[in-house]
């Protein structure tokens, strides 16, 4: 592996665990097995065929002799031609024939037979056997196939003779020996070649995987922009690389969101801290009246409260995202919940010249909710609505039963939100108009909190708005148990 030793995982330590090793080992074993099977079966076929041709040759000779003895027992020349001359004329695959009478006395013998074979042994070993040949070693160690048969002489039969035939099969044996050598040679060559070639092929095949791994190893939070080039990869790996790139895309986005969030937190914390510090420094620069000191202290207190609220909201969001967060669900009458919010904000709405109404549905609506969290979500929405609606407008709270889900709607006739800002309104610290919220004192976390409360309830928050006509936020959540 081309990786750095520090993080090359276990690959360099345990070569047996590498994919390339496993693949090439499997390929090699399979290849070797096939080669062994093929050559061994070919060898067996060859041997059988050679044996069969020897056998056929012997049978053929025997048949000729048998015919001659039966049909023309007195044609000695023909016999001699068959037994003595034909064999002698051969250079390879020589054969020897001996003809014995009924008392075992040789009548005719191929010349040189006695030098090549122990005739007594031949006689004893072939006696009483069928016509199938048996193997026998010659005097000089050459391999022979021998057979003997009783043949009838004359028609009608006068007596019986015995024919002994021996054939030198050293040519066939040599052929088989050469074949075996080739066999071992091929086996040796393939057992070296297969693993080598197989390993190379496997390595080549998994190289893209290693490249992907190398890229993955390089990627840290600082270079999330890097991507795996998926050109030229086989389709399976191209899809892997693609999936990987999509994951990086999402990670990069979340990281950007988080870092923007952190920068926003820092900014929002800096402002009150800066105020406290500056005011205290200026106040301490020289002696002040008691009232001046009191003003500074009160101002610090206000800033501290602002900080506390910000911290409280941030903690709330952090906790809402923790998988350990549990909801304290109880049966909540939605109308009663909306009325509670209305009562709380009524005075503010009246001050702002707005009417704040709860649009009562026909039937009572109940749901299993975390009451205090939902109260908070709806309050945030109403607070936003009041802040962004001009005098004479209306803020409406409504609830609808949607069978398995319920929805709570807060709509206003206010200034609305520009279309391009809508996708970001639920982001933390996002403010449609940054200068405006400085005055109204919002933390920019209100809608983020609303969304996280709905997420905790397994629901969602949706916003639709028309610039100059108003905004409508719909909270939709499963009702669980309604009564």
């Amino acid at each position: 592996m081309s990786s750095k030793p520090s993080n090359s995982l276990s690959a360099t330590l345990h070569p047996r665990r590498t994919l390339a090793f496993r693949l090439s080992a499997a390929y090699s074993l399979l290849g070797l097995l096939l080669v062994i099977l093929a050559t061994a079966s070919l060898y067996l076929v060859l041997r059988t065929e050679l044996d069969r041709s020897t056998e056929l040759f012997l049978a053929d000779k025997l048949h000729v002799l048998r015919t001659m003895l039966r049909e023309r027992p007195d044609d000695e020349d023909a016999l001699r031609e068959e037994i003595e001359l034909e064999s002698e004329a051969r250079r390879y695959q020589q054969f020897y024939i001996r003809l014995l009478d009924e008392h075992g006395v040789p009548i005719m013998t191929t010349p040189g037979m006695a030098e090549q074979l122990d005739l007594a042994e031949l006689a004893s070993r072939t006696r009483g056997r069928s016509e199938r040949s048996i193997a026998m070693a010659g005097r000089h160690g050459q391999p022979f196939r021998v057979t003997s048969a009783t043949v009838t002489v004359g028609t009608p039969q006068t007596h019986t003779d015995t024919v002994q035939i021996a054939i030198d099969v050293s040519q066939e044996e040599e052929l088989l020996t050469r074949y075996r050598m080739w066999f071992w040679g091929i086996l040796l060559a393939t057992s070296v070649l297969f693993p080598l070639v197989g390993y190379r092929i496997a390595r080549h095949g998994i190289r893209p995987v290693e490249e992907i791994a190398a890229t993955a190893r390089r990627i840290t939070s600082t270079n999330l922009r890097e991507r795996i080039g998926s050109e030229g990869y086989p389709s399976e790996l191209a899809s892997l690389a693609g999936t990987f790139n999509e994951m990086l895309e999402r990670l990069e986005e979340s990281f950007e969101r988080i870092s923007r969030f952190t920068a926003d937190i820092a900014h929002d914390l800096r402002t009150p801290v800066n105020n406290i510090r500056g005011e205290a420094e200026v106040a301490l620069a020289r002696a002040r009246t008691v009232d001046e000191y009191r003003d500074v202290l009160v101002s610090s207190l206000e800033e501290a409260i602002r900080l506390s609220e910000l911290i409280g909201n941030l903690l709330f969001l952090a906790r809402a995202e923790s998988p350990l967060t549990e909801l304290h669900r109880e049966n909540v009458n939605i109308r009663e919940l909306l009325t509670t919010v209305r009562d709380y904000y009524e005075a503010s709405a009246t001050d702002a010249g707005l009417s704040l109404v709860v649009n009562e549905g026909a039937e009572p609506l109940n749901a299993e909710l975390d009451r205090s969290l939902m109260l908070r979500a709806v309050s945030n929405l109403v607070s936003n609505a009041i802040a962004h609606t001009s005098p004479g407008g209306t803020v409406t709270l409504a609830a609808t039963n949607e069978d398995v889900a319920i929805s709570i709607e807060v709509s206003d006739t206010g200034v609305g939100i520009p279309a391009e800002a809508i996708p970001r309104v639920f982001d933390r610290f996002f403010r449609v108009d940054p200068s405006r919220s400085k005055i109204s004192g919002g933390t920019g976390l209100g809608l983020a909190i609303v969304q996280s409360i709905l997420t905790l309830h397994g629901g969602s928050a949706e916003i639709s708005s028309q610039l100059g006509h108003g905004t409508r936020v719909t909270l939709r959540m499963p009702a669980l148990a309604t009564r």
């Binding site: 009160v298 506390s308 409280g312 009562d343 709380y344 005075a347 109260l375 004192g441």
Partner: protein, 224 residues
């Protein structure tokens, strides 16, 4: 009445001692859990204000040991974490109240007072402050004999202020008691409501009863 503050953060301990002393309590401070526990066993405290994150022995252990002492003082826990399960754990271990940092001192003082108020206030039929009279049974309030035209929430708010006359009530506490809003909702809503109440209770009369304590909340008293 003697209160023990077990708190390792020096500044916090200092302002608790100062604030509570000025409110008329006798304060002892311990800087770690073990020291606090020893003190609590030796001296008869009526209330222990206990931080959770403490050196040597943490607040939970101190609380568990305190439950086994003879004195069994009341315990108010202070913590920087307000995860619900921590709150539940605190109450299970026998804490009498629970406050999350950062807290308003007025809030702490209010809780200390209500914990140490030995007897629960008897149900009263009426409250009186200067020329203001609140008839709790008939839900009506009069000032200098004049009937005040209050909404039900305004009446609740006035009753809350009057019942706890002299105490600084934070906006959070008011929102929670009157409107059931038990979270830091935008508290200027409380200001708006108090302003409306004032316009009916105080504005027509020379003697003002509802006073703003800047940065802290509201107090109900008859002094100028």
């Amino acid at each position: 009445m003697k209160i023990l503050v077990i708190e390792d953060e020096v500044k916090t301990a200092k302002f608790l001692r100062k604030g509570l002393s000025e409110a008329g309590y006798v304060i002892d401070v311990a800087a770690d859990g073990l020291e606090g526990l020893h003190l609590a066993k030796e001296v008869d405290f009526e209330l222990v204000i206990l931080d959770v994150m403490l050196p040597v022995m943490d607040g939970w252990q101190v609380l568990a040991h305190l439950r086994e002492t003879e004195q069994k003082p009341l315990v108010l826990m202070l913590t920087a974490r307000d995860a619900v399960h921590e709150r539940v754990r605190g109450f299970e271990l026998g804490a009498d109240d629970y406050l999350v940092k950062p807290f308003a001192f007025s809030e702490l003082l209010a809780r200390v007072r209500s914990l140490l108020r030995r007897t629960t206030p008897r149900p009263q039929e009426s409250l009186r402050m200067a020329d203001l009279e609140i008839d709790l049974l008939r839900q009506r309030a009069t000032r200098a004999g004049q009937r005040l035209d209050l909404t039900s929430k305004e009446f609740l708010l006035l009753t809350l202020l009057a019942r706890r006359a002299g105490e600084v009530l934070s906006r959070t506490l008011i929102a929670e008691s009157v409107w059931d809003m038990n979270f830091d909702s935008d508290t200027n809503v409380v200001d708006v409501n108090v302003r409306r109440l004032r316009s009916k209770v105080d504005d027509p009369f020379p003697l003002k009863l509802i006073h703003t304590v800047r940065g802290a909340g509201y107090v109900f008293e008859a002094e100028q």
